[in-house]
């Protein structure tokens, strides 16, 4: 798709100006320069106590200019897209190098890219009533679910991000990336017991997505069901035990346990617990993990990454063996490895770095029922709040928001919130069964790294880990 015209027409950008800025950026001797233009329009509506309490829209536009000189990066950005300001930002970024210009700006070649998500039909500020309808229906559905539901908040947020990337190596790419998400938060009360539940979903989709099976009624029922369930939850167990993770969002385990540790920047610097483990066994032979930026409509998908590179499916772990890293241009060049199209950034104000897209484990052959039946005493965790990792020590956590005890092969009482902890390079070695029921999450994931947030997806089939530490109280 040709999204460059948007920037050319709206901001008066020309190919000549792009070349001048890139040349100015290399004027002090940098090896490489790139420009990242971004224009974002966002809308957010929130229903609380059954009335529309919040409605907001925002627009922002800017350009980030990067100059790379060896391992050094100079960066400057501006929210004023006039030629003067762009050239001045280019000169600021250029200061990372010192000397005469050495590299030319190559002629632009447009990156060929797929169409993984709908291109914008019109400006976003159409059809607010359809969005209102969604959050109103969610509110009704959650309250109808059970009389013990006392508070409901529902929200709908979407944005359209347009980007244009031009680089001195001739890279030229543009894209328009929709992103929508609906969320429902419920509080339930029964006597003096109180609990919360939340649910949500979306992706690189437009509002029509929510008129399908994954609509407001689905998410509302999920949030209400979780809250009601938690009213009867017992204290979570404490200590090492067998853990079964359900399909979908529990794939956050992979994101934390291995995903971050395989981002190339950490491995180039040898600050990751996975550094130097390529070709080594880091998981049980049943485990194959991929990162795939090329899935239709998924929250982590990208037609091109934020450096204008093509995205792809990258095998991280195959049959338990560590196969590769997720790279951006800088780490690919410095490490002499292929670029996997994983250079991403939160906005034009940020320097890109290797990030995940949609990360998931391929399905195995076990049935979920067999997996649960095989557990004597353990935890069955089907939903999580989020997680984090220390990539150097390899220790990671993720917090269960819906989990049950497993006793003699049967799923029994729901347990209260508990954090699970493990060691990235070791945890997946304890995977003894992999289900045939791969699912990706509903489209709610946001990943943070060095202060930058980007949308991602995770996925997993039902998986059994022979041991993992559960952070309960008894």
């Amino acid at each position: 798709m040709d999204h460059k015209r948007y920037f050319f027409e709206k901001f008066g950008i020309t190919e000549r100006l792009l070349e001048r800025c890139l040349g100015e950026a290399l004027s002090a001797g940098g090896d490489y320069s790139d420009l990242y233009f971004e224009s974002v329009a966002s809308t957010s509506l929130g229903l609380d106590e059954s009335i529309v309490k919040s409605a907001s829209q925002g627009v922002s536009a800017g350009c980030g200019i990067r100059v790379v000189s060896g391992e050094r990066t100079g960066y400057a950005y501006t929210d004023d897209l006039s030629a003067d300001r762009l050239l001045r930002a280019a000169r600021t970024a250029a200061l990372i190098a010192s000397g005469p210009a050495q590299q030319p700006v190559h002629a632009f070649t447009e990156t060929s890219s797929p169409s993984l998500y709908p291109a914008p039909a019109a400006d976003l500020d159409t059809d607010l009533s359809a969005r209102l309808d969604l959050i109103t229906r969610a509110d009704h559905a959650a309250r109808r679910y059970d009389q013990r539901v006392t508070q409901v908040r529902s929200s709908y947020a979407d944005e359209l991000r347009r980007i244009l990337i031009a680089a001195s190596d001739g890279t030229f790419a543009s894209d328009a990336q929709p992103l929508a998400r609906m969320s429902v938060f419920v509080v339930a009360k029964d006597g003096d017991r109180i609990a919360r539940g939340s649910s949500g979903g979306g992706g690189r989709v437009e509002i029509g997505y929510f008129t399908g099976a994954k609509g407001p009624e689905f998410f509302a029922a999920e949030a209400a069901r979780t809250a009601i369930l938690q009213l009867a939850a017992v204290p979570a167990p404490a200590g090492e035990m067998e853990v079964v993770l359900g399909p979908g969002w529990p794939g956050v385990l992979l994101h934390e346990a291995v995903g971050h540790g395989l981002e190339a920047d950490f491995n180039r610097k040898k600050t990751s617990a996975f550094a130097g483990l390529i070709g080594r066994q880091v998981a049980s032979s049943k485990v194959t993990v991929v990162d795939n930026g090329r899935m239709a409509l998924r929250r982590g998908s990208l037609n091109v990454d934020d450096e204008g590179s093509s995205t792809q499916e990258t095998i991280l772990i195959e049959g338990g063996i560590l196969k590769g890293y997720l790279s951006d241009k800088l780490s690919a060049r410095l490490m002499g490895i292929p670029s996997t199209g994983n250079g991403r950034r939160e906005s034009y104000q940020q320097i890109p770095m290797p990030r995940m897209t949609n990360t998931y484990m391929l399905p195995g052959e076990d049935s979920p029922e067999d997996i649960l039946r095989s557990v004597k005493r353990g935890l069955y965790a089907v939903n999580f709040g989020g997680g984090s990792v220390d990539i150097t020590s390899g220790k990671f956590v993720f917090s269960a928001s819906e989990a049950y005890l497993i006793e003699d092969g049967k799923v029994t009482a729901p347990v209260r919130d508990a954090t699970l902890i493990g060691n990235g390079p070791e945890a997946l070695k304890h995977v003894s069964m992999v289900g045939n029921d791969l699912a990706l999450d509903e489209g709610i994931g946001t990943c943070g790294k060095e202060g930058q947030s980007v949308p991602v997806a995770v996925g997993m089939p039902t998986v059994k880990l022979d041991r993992m530490t559960v952070g309960g109280t008894r």
Binding site: K53, S56, V59, A238, S393, A418, I421
Partner: protein, 457 residues
């Protein structure tokens, strides 16, 4: 300092007036402008150098109805006249689809105001160092860390950052205020490796509003090294109940949870362990928690909050008794109370609740005395994950630190969790250290909490 081609104060008051002309019953305008500089070095070499400025404007309009207001907001990075025009049209159109909220509306006329006098929030000296010197500061911090011990073999880098910002707020009740703030920081994050190949990383930092108040790069680097080295050789411990001593940098999280539990929006929703508990004992008698937005030079200080109310000091918990919720105008109306001037806001959206300088008052014993009093327990220096459910109080987080035997550090621990319920944890605070120091806007001394579960092997 940021360069300004249009007078932003005029822009703010003009935008309020234009919004009223366009049909708004009330309007609030926020303008933010800022500059940032950051540099990072790694293994002695410059890694990044970033330098830029940006600004943005946010408008919130209110349309009066029979029994309340409809409210909506818009934001933009485009401050040119046609961008401003779109901002106003968009906000008013959006407000028409919002519901009438009987509790919405600006604060009462007598409530607006700001603290007079110099709050010492902005110091131009944060930009006084030339770029080469800033890089040198980061290098010195990293070098000091790496030189501390031969096991410090790698580095996640060190950095020097500086920023200045300006915030302007105007509303249709005649409030117009602005303040500038500055900030600089230095940080180092070394990596240690032992003979087994195991790696540990920790970091330390210093931040200040004035460059002259920044700690030396050497002291930051040495402290980062000490923190990293003490985790080497960490192992797990058996699952058990044990007293837990929270180091100040992790005890801050407990103070943050107290603030969140006292936040008025969670209270009126009944979604907090503190709902309906005003005047009741919620913590040990030694616990006093204060939010104070008025401390000169403080990281959480401002002359007025995001609704134009003068910042103030609020005692949240006094000797264990819950004394006040944390409120902005909306939450206060919902609860039939007065705002505690804790409104925060982004460029778009409704005001939320934000802390000023938030702290738990220091006690008498030193951190060493507290540690010496523990026969067998855990000293936590690092926590992982969110892990606090404020609706139920359930608390469960990943942890690392040092195991205590007979009042002395025995060995480092990691890959364990600590869990309990915040309601019990606050009552079971059995020692509060004398070591309260503001390294950022939220501060806590060393805390000992009994009765929690450590989960490990």
């Amino acid at each position: 300092m940021a360069e300004t081609s249009i007078d932003l104060r005029d822009l703010a008051s003009g935008l309020v007036a234009q919004s009223l002309q366009a049909g708004a019953s009330d309007a609030e305008v926020t303008i933010r402008e800022g500059d940032e500089f950051s540099t990072s070095v790694r293994l002695g070499e410059v890694e990044t150098l970033k330098q830029s400025g940006s600004r943005g404007v946010g408008l919130r309009v209110l349309l009066r109805a029979d029994n309340g207001y409809r409210v909506a907001s818009t934001s933009s990075s485009d401050l040119a006249p046609d961008g401003i025009e779109r901002l106003i049209r968009g906000a008013i159109a959006l407000a028409h689809i919002a519901s009438v909220d009987p509790f919405a509306g600006l604060a009462e006329p007598g409530e607006f105001g700001q603290i007079s006098g110099d709050l010492r929030l902005c110091h131009d000296d944060v930009y006084s160092l030339p770029t080469e010197e800033r890089i040198a500061w980061a290098r010195r911090a990293e070098a000091a860390a790496m030189a501390a011990d031969p096991r410090l073999v790698n580095s996640d880098g060190a950095g020097f950052d500086a920023a200045t910002g300006r915030r302007i707020f105007a509303n249709s009740r005649g409030f117009l205020g602005e303040y500038r703030s500055s900030y600089c920081s230095i940080a180092a994050s070394p990596i240690a490796r032992d003979v087994s190949g195991e790696m540990q990383r920790d970091y330390w930092w210093s931040q200040a509003r004035a460059f002259r108040d920044l700690e030396s790069p050497e002291s930051v680097g040495q402290e980062a090294a000490r923190r990293t080295l003490r985790l080497l050789g960490a192992r797990r411990v058996a699952t058990q109940q044990a007293p837990i001593v929270f180091a100040p940098e992790v005890a801050r999280g407990i103070v943050g949870a107290i603030f969140d539990a006292a936040a008025g929006d969670a209270i009126y929703r009944g979604a907090s362990i503190f709902a309906g508990k005003l005047g009741e004992t919620v913590a040990a008698p030694s616990v006093t928690v204060i939010d104070d937005g008025t401390i000169p030079g403080g990281f959480g200080t401002s002359p007025f909050d995001a609704e134009g109310l003068p910042s103030r000091r609020t005692v949240i918990v006094e000797h264990g008794v819950l004394r006040s919720y944390i409120l902005n105008t909306y939450a206060a109306r919902k609860l039939g109370m007065k705002s505690t001037a804790n409104a925060g806001r982004g460029l778009a959206g409704n005001p939320f609740l934000d802390s000023g300088n938030l702290f738990l008052e220091a006690g008498a014993p030193s951190a060493e005395e507290i540690l010496h009093g523990v026969d067998r327990g855990l000293y936590v220096t690092r926590l992982m994950g969110q892990g606090v459910n404020l609706v139920t109080g359930d608390y469960s987080r990943g942890a690392a630190g040092l195991w205590i035997e007979n009042g002395e550090f025995a060995f480092p621990v990691q890959e364990i969790t600590i869990a309990g319920n915040l309601k019990d944890m606050l009552r079971n605070i059995s020692a509060i250290g004398s070591d309260l120091k503001f390294r950022s806007a939220t501060a806590a001394p060393t805390l000992r909490i009994d009765g929690m579960t450590v989960a490990g092997e």
